[in-house]
Structure formats: C-alpha cells, structure tokens
C-alpha cells in the first residue's frame, strides 16, 4: 500500500540541522515528492536527540519515529553522531521488551547533499509504518483489557 493513499499516520522525525535537515531541504529544492505523514523536528545534532524523546513520542501515540544525522565521521560537531549511534542502537534493541515493534523506530544518516536518499528514506520508512498500521493506543479500553489479560495469565 502506498503511503500517499489512505489515512495519514503520525510519524515524527528528529533531524540534525547540518546534514539531514539540509538533506530534506535538498529533496524539497529538487521537488522530490514524498509521503506527507512525517513531521520534522529540527535539532542541532543527532547527539542532541535524547532517546527519551523517541520513547515519549512512541508512548504517546506516534506510529513511527525517525532520527537522522550526519554520516559517521562527518558530524558538524565531530563526535555527536557517534554518541547518537550508540544511544539509538541501544534504544532500538530495548523496544521489544516494552512490546513496541522495533520497526516503528529507525535511525539513519543522510547528508545535506543527499536529497534523493532522503526521499528514499521517507518513502521506505512511511511505507513500513503503514504496513504496521496504527500503533496500539493506550486508553481506558486497552488498560481494562490488559488488566483482564494479566489476571487470567497469572
């Protein structure tokens, strides 16, 4: 299913100012058409992305979260994406224990010149999220269900 058709899902992007945000700009200048689900939050560096921003988004209704920074070795701040890489990889591997599909979170490296690559990333990620469908909503109904499920399991 193409991400363009059907209902939009909530996808949050955290992009570093120097590379990926520039890459997304480059994609725009090149008029590379993309699915419209993604909302981008600009941060100075992928190293600024506290994994808790991602978790906060996922717990509170994001269907997908994408983080993108400069390629390793190309960080504007020389080391930020190295820290980000470790933190985000740990985060990705942590998600399963929470019952969150790891495919709902991805991180990648896109430089300011890679407009075409950015389009590909957005397309692929959006498509993947649409395949997964909306994330489970934590509401009164779900809590009640979960409590019953837990009671019967024990």
């Amino acid at each position: 299913m193409s991400a363009d058709s059907g209902k939009e899902l909530r996808i949050v992007g955290f992009l570093c100012n120097w590379c990926s945000y520039g890459g997304a700009d480059t994609a725009g200048v090149g008029r590379f058409q993309q699915p419209t689900d993604l909302r981008i939050i600009r941060v100075p560096c992928s190293g600024r992305v506290d994994p808790l921003f991602v978790l906060k988004s996922l717990v509170n209704g994001a269907d997908g979260v994408l983080v993108s920074g400069c390629h390793p070795r190309d960080c504007h701040y020389s080391e930020g994406n190295y820290y980000a890489r470790r933190r985000l990889e740990v985060l990705k591997r942590f998600l399963p224990v929470l019952g969150i599909d790891t495919r709902r979170f991805e991180y990648t490296w896109v430089s300011a010149s890679e407009g075409q690559k950015w389009k590909t990333v957005v397309e692929k990620f959006t498509e993947g999220i649409h395949e997964l469908g909306p994330a489970p909503v934590i509401d009164a109904t779900m809590i009640a269900k979960a409590q019953i499920l837990a009671a019967t399991a024990l």
């Binding site: 994994p51 808790l52 978790l55 906060k56 717990v59 509170n60 390793p72 070795r73 080391e79 190295y82 820290y83 890489r85 470790r86 933190r87 990889e89 740990v90 985060l91 591997r93 942590f94 399963p96 224990v97 929470l98 019952g99 969150i100 599909d101 991805e106 991180y107 990648t108 490296w109 690559k117 590909t120 990333v121 692929k124 489970p136 934590i138 779900m142 809590i143 269900k145 979960a146 409590q147 499920l149 837990a150 009671a151 399991a153």
Partner: protein, 317 residues
C-alpha cells in the same frame, strides 16, 4: 551468622578512622533487617549479617560524600560501589569496603506470598540453608533457596568484587548469566508484552521508591520525574506517564545498572521493574561486551564511542 564476629571485630578496629560504617541491624521485627549507621562500638554490636540483609547499602554512599564511610557489601552490592567509583560519584579514599561472600538473600515478597501476611512475625531463625519463621504461634519452615530473591539464583558475583577488608572464604563463582528470563518474556507476543506493562503500570502509585532505593539514581531531589524544567512527565495521572518514568529510569541506567534489584524490592506494589533493566543490560553486553560495576577504570558505553563500532552496522537504505 557466619563471619559476623570477625566482621564486627574488623569494623571496630577501623572505626576510629571512619566517620561511620553502614551495615544492617534487626528492624521492627525479626524478619526485617534495617540499615544501621555505626558510629560507636555499641552500634557495632547491634549489627547482623545473613540472608535477611537485603538492602544494598551502597545506595547511601553518594549522599555521604565528603565523609569517611565504611560500608558492608555483598557481592552484588560491591558492583554498585565499583560503578559509583567509576563515575566518580564517590571517592575511593573516602570509603572503606568490608566485603563478604554471600549465598543469597531472601525475598520478603516470596515469603509473603507463602504466608499471606507478614504482619505478626514472632521469631525468625536462619539455620544453615533453611529459614524458620514463627507467625501467630505456628512455625513455618522454608528452604532458603525457595524464598531467595530472583537475582540470587543467577548470581555470578557472590563475593565482593572490591573490598579493603574481606571476611570469610570466597565462594566459587558459577556460570554466566544468559538472561533467559528476558528471552522468555520476549517469547510472548508484542501485544501481550505491552498489555503486561500497561496492566502493571496501571498499579503504579508513583511513589518513586524504585528510584530512591536505586544506588545509581544520584540525582535524587533533581530527578526529571518531578521537575518542570525540564518537564518530561506531565501532572496527569496516566499509565503513559508512569510507564514512561520506568523508561526514563532504564535509559538513565543504560550501561550503569548493576542489577542489585533494589528497585523491584522497594516497590510497594511489586512491579517487575528489574526486567526492564536486565533487558537493557543484555543489549549493552551484546553490543559493547560490557557489564556495569565490574571495573573501576572502564568507561560507561553510552558516554563513549568507537569510530568504527564492533557490533553496530551502518544503517543503509
């Protein structure tokens, strides 16, 4: 109560050079131990040692910074001391570690599950590997092994890893922890896992006992759970907020948690909080071949990096 006399002697010997030594004494009944802050020889005589000494006393060290403090540690507690030292949250010169070999501590929750209530304990006796509890005139005998904390059954650090004074004979360490509990949990469907947490977290009363008991939670009064700037957790009483706090705790402990299990022990509603941290540790171990609280000179993985990571693939699209 093996080694107790020798331990008391050593503490008394060193007490003059220390502001205090932290150990355990009997609490309000014979089953419950309580942390003991020894300043005099009389205090030392109140000390107890054994499977009832559940508390990780390393938790007190950061708040006693600046004083000369002795601390009595089990194997697992010693890892917290090492981690605190590694993060320079305490000073090596300021602390004196009295290390012991530990065969395991009890889980009060398991005993409670058996007895129904822990309200009228008359006497408690530890005899070898058995535990005799008299409640309301009736004697209940347990094998220690059956009521030991979960962390003890997979313990790889029976002996204090760091000690200035080691009392007793070291225990031979056993096989590697394979995190089978984490794997088993993850065998459940994603939906069931989330339901597990949602139902559990709906019982959370936001008392933050888990955080207060954690030896690595050094922010204390400045924890982001209760601050407005930054305002990570809103004032709403929601499952999301409570669950998110556990995620914060897990992320802040990534590569730092020594798995002492104090969070879970302290929880008044019995939430399985250590599972999250064990999952985090499992991934940290796989990614960085690193275990918190084993080496003072190591660097916490998330505060360092390698230009070429060994186990992280570059993400291509």
């Amino acid at each position: 109560m093996q080694y107790l006399n020798e331990l008391k002697e050593k503490i008394k010997e060193n007490l003059p050079e220390l502001d205090m030594v932290v150990g355990w004494e009997q609490g309000f009944d014979s089953l419950r131990a309580s942390p003991l802050f020894m300043r005099t020889e009389d205090d030392v005589d109140k000390m107890i040692w054994g499977p009832l000494c559940v508390h990780n006393l390393a938790t007190y060290l950061p708040s006693l910074k600046g004083k000369k403090v002795g601390v009595v540690v089990k194997g697992c507690d010693s890892r917290s001391v090492i981690q605190l030292l590694q993060e320079k949250l305490i000073k090596r010169d300021d602390i004196m570690v009295f290390g012991l070999p530990c065969t395991g501590v009890v889980s009060l929750r398991k005993i409670q599950d058996n007895l129904g209530s822990l309200d009228y304990i008359e006497s408690t006796e530890v005899d070898g590997d058995s535990l005799n509890i008299t409640v309301d005139g009736t004697n209940h005998a347990f094998k220690l092994e059956d009521v030991a904390a979960n962390k003890c059954s997979r313990c790889q650090y029976h002996n204090a890893l760091l000690s200035d004074v080691f009392i007793g004979d070291p225990i031979t360490e056993e096989a590697e922890d394979e995190y089978t509990d984490v794997d088993e949990f993850e065998d459940m469907s994603l939906e069931d896992r989330m339901a597990f947490w949602v139902s559990n977290m709906s019982r959370c009363v936001s008392c933050y006992a888990c955080r207060n008991a954690c030896p690595m939670c050094v922010c204390r009064d400045h924890c982001v759970a209760q601050s407005r700037d930054p305002h990570w957790i809103t004032q709403e009483d929601t499952v999301q907020n409570k669950w998110f706090f556990q995620m914060i705790h897990s992320m802040h402990l990534a590569g730092r948690c020594t798995e002492c299990g104090e969070c879970e022990r302290a929880c008044p509603v019995g939430l399985p909080l250590l599972l999250l941290k064990r999952k985090m540790n499992k991934e940290i171990k796989e990614l960085f071949a690193y275990k918190a609280g084993t080496l003072i000179d190591a660097k916490t993985p998330l505060l360092s990096f390698k230009v070429e990571e060994d186990n992280i693939n570059e993400r291509g699209w």
